[in-house]
């Protein structure tokens, strides 16, 4: 419970930083998705049940601020966290390349889900070329920021107060 609350609060901090500071900085029109990187990072350390309790409130917080549509971010984060957690359990290598690759995969899944859920509603009128350019730029940005967030999450997860006891 303590772990879940801590990770939800860090997620909330990421959301506030995203809405206030990181939205001012863009790389050829693309903005970094701090929460997506955070979700990818925590999915590599938390178990599936913990993930639901952490990802669900973070997604709802993000959706409360999102214009026009409610639920899209929660859905994206739930699916991404589940997939990342599923694959991560089968990988035994501890290298920084793994979270970067997961960030790449997650950004791809995010764009596919946005394409499926937002495009049919007609709210978004971006051309395919524009979406492709945004996607490439966002991947570069997310991959560049990923190691920092991953290391913070790793440190928090390893801290004595939040360490999980082994169960046999």
């Amino acid at each position: 419970m303590k772990r879940s609350v801590t990770f939800v609060l860090i997620g909330l901090l990421c959301l506030i930083l995203q809405n206030t500071i990181f939205m001012n900085f863009s790389f050829f029109g693309a903005k970094v998705d701090l929460l997506l990187i955070y979700i990818v990072s925590i999915s590599m350390f938390l178990d599936k049940v913990e993930l639901i309790f952490v990802v669900l409130p973070i997604g709802i917080f993000k959706d409360a601020f999102f214009p026009y549509i409610f639920g899209i971010n929660t859905l994206i984060y739930l699916i991404i966290s589940f997939i990342v957690n599923l694959i991560e359990n089968k990988i035994y290598k501890d290298t920084i390349l793994i979270p970067i690759l997961f960030t790449f995969l997650s950004t791809l899944i995010k764009y596919i889900l946005v394409f499926i859920f937002i495009y049919p509603s007609g709210i978004l009128n971006y051309s395919y070329e524009k979406v492709l350019i945004l996607f490439i730029n966002e991947i570069i940005l997310n991959a560049a920021i990923c190691p920092f967030i991953y290391n913070v999450v790793k440190k928090v997860n390893m801290s004595e107060k939040l360490k999980k006891d082994w169960k046999f």
């Binding site: 206030t20 900085f25 639901i52 601020f65 214009p67 739930l78």
Partner: protein
Amino acid sequence: MDFLKNRLLTIILVLCLVLTIFIGITANNRSNEGAIQGVINSVIAPIQKQVYNAGQRIYNIFSFLSSISTLRKENIELKSQIQDLKLKLIDYEKIKFENTELNRLLQYKNDNNFKYISANVIGKVGDNWFNVVILDVGSNDGVKKGCYVRAADGLVGKVVEVNSTTSKVMTILDENSKIPVTINETGDDGLLIGSNNDSLCKVQFLPSVTKADKGNIVITSNITTNPDVLVPSGIIVGTIERIEYEKINLSKTAFIKPAVDFSKIKKVQVLVK
């Protein structure tokens, strides 16, 4: 906990289904307003306001450092602009006097029933998809959907969603912002929309014979389809950067640089009836 572990996939699938229904309903109404959103916005908005102000200070330091090299050139340009504006001011005073006299003769009624609500920008949302800013005023302060929002330099956009203490404003950079505008110098009407670009928006459906040119000022026009919303005319939107001819709809499109610097926006006014 064991029950959750055993039924995990089922729970996730049910959650996805519920969320899909939510997405369907809100996307159809094009509105993300409700009790949950209102409560979350009200709780987080005060914290966000403080962080936004701190973030703006950090951003200002970065932009100041990057602008040092261009300051001298900008200074020379501004000095020449001041000279031009001084000459225009003399003309303006003369025309203003004439206008007052003529209005008095015609007994023209000036119907400016505006009420301004001052607000602070407390965040920017919408990721890469939408260009939306959050204000710290809501329905409790009298803000309504569709109200126009302006900053000291010019038009910011219009209110698209209202909660009790916060509201979301779609800026003129957003692709969905369809605002009627007029070219000040020529009087041609057009429709302002965002161009998916951080610094430019465009005015579409200008007549193909328009004499509008680079440097002309674009202002809001008072055409409206919603009787509840008072459309203020004459608010500066920006200046024309370039004009292109669109063969498909036989009209011209003007690309304009907004008067408002959206990266530094802090204080705004909401115009209500």
